[in-house]
């Protein structure tokens, strides 16, 4: 097997890869923000006492968690046009990713909030705080600290998930690699470069997680 990489070809197609890489990063960022919004709303709904607010949120989370992202993506890709909603594939992709990750973000937020000892909330209530004040002053500041690490983990998942958008013709990183692999018959160069790009993002995010971990420790010692 010829293991040497044709770096010249990689060099030639690097602009395409960079375009793909930028697209992947943009998509992931947009979807992450979307996921945060969806997740917080879903979590808030799931914590309500009213069944009419809780049930849809719980149903949404359970369905997302028990079905593959690809099926959800195709559901929207093939399904949205029936509502007359024609939009660029990239938008469908970002929506699908946001809805998918949103369910997991919701669980992360939920764990973060439920991890705060009940006693602190009671102390707040005892000093006359409203529910919103308890949230703002006691629960959220602490919950947010515990959420950062799992959220970075979800970001990593999101970046990997974004590769599925290549299957609905979105021009992102995996598609760039496929182009090199199929159009120019160089699967090794194409896929290896793709893998390396993803790993760069992966290790970058992992570094962020480490840095946060150390920052968090310092705070705890105070």
């Amino acid at each position: 097997m010829n293991l040497s990489l044709n770096f010249r070809v990689i060099g030639e197609t690097l602009p395409d890869f960079l375009t793909g890489l930028t697209a992947t990063v943009t998509i992931s960022l947009a979807a992450f923000v979307g996921a945060l919004i969806v997740g917080v709303i879903a979590c808030a709904m799931s914590l309500q006492t009213s069944r009419y607010l809780r049930a849809p949120a719980v149903a949404y989370i359970d369905v997302i968690r028990a079905t593959p992202l690809l099926a959800q993506l195709y559901f929207l890709y093939f399904g949205l046009p029936s509502f007359g909603l024609m939009m660029p594939e990239i938008m469908v992709g970002v929506i699908a990713l946001s809805l998918n990750s949103g369910a997991y973000v919701s669980e992360i937020v939920r764990s973060g909030i439920l991890a705060i000892p009940r006693g602190q909330v009671e102390a707040g209530a005892a000093s006359g705080m409203s529910y919103l004040q308890q949230m703002r002053l006691i629960i959220l500041p602490q919950a947010l600290r515990t959420m950062v690490s799992p959220l970075i983990g979800q970001a990593i998942v999101l970046v990997k998930d974004s590769s599925l958008l290549s299957l609905i013709s979105v021009l992102e990183l995996t598609r760039a690699g496929q182009t090199l692999a199929i159009n120019r018959f160089m699967p090794v160069e194409g896929l290896v470069t793709t893998a390396v790009c993803y790993l760069i993002i992966y290790y970058g995010l992992k570094l962020m997680a480490h840095a946060w971990g150390r920052f968090d420790q310092v705070g705890a010692k105070r």
């Binding site: 359970d62 079905t67 099926a71 195709y74 399904g79 599925l164 995996t174 692999a181 893998a195 993803y198």
Partner: protein
């Protein structure tokens, strides 16, 4: 309104007529997932033991290997297996490629689960075992594994669900799994919502019970 309803019913009937394809797809999804969890589980178990061992080089090498696969998309890995291995002389059909790629990534995730479980066993017990002359293998078999298992099993159930969901990528190399069956049906019945709701239902029926079981297991600890 009546017209759209009648049309919808027509479509539902058409979808039902496609049930052989859909069931075949479901069967393939389950088959390839079972292969993945068994092969991947066993390999991952062995890798995890190596990863948690005190042989630093081995642990590092296994860690580096599993990290690469945990840091890249399954789709890309699948393409690597399907498109690159033939260059090394290994011709693979989409089923084998799918099974290999899924087993590999499962092994990588399971190895981390097993390694964490083993590392969670308190050091003191291993020192006590060491002090009474037990060999490395005996310490693993009699002390570390029985306790690590309690932590590992709930995570494994969750891993199976992830595998079933990840298995949907094999549709990208033409393997007739549940997702691909939906893709095929939607070409004839252009109602994406309907067709992929059925597909989703298929996955849901497999995954939801296991998810609940996994949650119940986790609650026990």
């Amino acid at each position: 309104m009546n017209e759209t309803l009648a049309f919808l019913l027509e479509q539902i009937k058409s979808v039902i007529e496609f049930h052989p394809v859909i069931l075949k797809g479901l069967g393939m999804t389950i088959l390839v997932s079972l292969i993945g969890i068994v092969a991947g589980g066993l390999a991952g178990f062995a890798l995890g033991i190596g990863r948690a061992s005190s042989y630093k080089t081995l642990s590092f090498l296994i860690g580096a290997y599993t990290d690469i696969f945990r840091g890249t998309p399954v789709l890309v890995q699948l393409f690597v297996v399907f498109f690159i291995l033939p260059q090394a002389g290994i011709e693979l059909d989409s089923f084998s490629a799918g099974a290999i790629a899924l087993s590999n990534i499962t092994a990588c995730f399971v190895s981390e689960i097993v390694a964490s479980g083993l590392k969670a066993v308190p050091v003191g017990q291993l020192e006590a075992a060491l002090s009474s002359g037990l060999t490395r293998l005996q310490r693993l078999r009699l002390i570390a594994l029985p306790q690590a298992t309690r932590l590992i099993v709930p995570s494994l159930a969750g891993q199976f669900v992830l595998l079933v969901k990840d298995s949907s990528v094999v549709s990208a190399i033409g393997l007739l799994d549940l997702t691909r069956s939906g893709w095929i049906v939607v070409q004839s019945i252009p109602n994406g919502l309907l067709v992929f709701s059925v597909v989703g239902l298929g996955y849901f029926l497999v995954c939801y019970p296991i998810l609940n079981w996994s949650r119940a297991l986790e609650k026990k600890h």
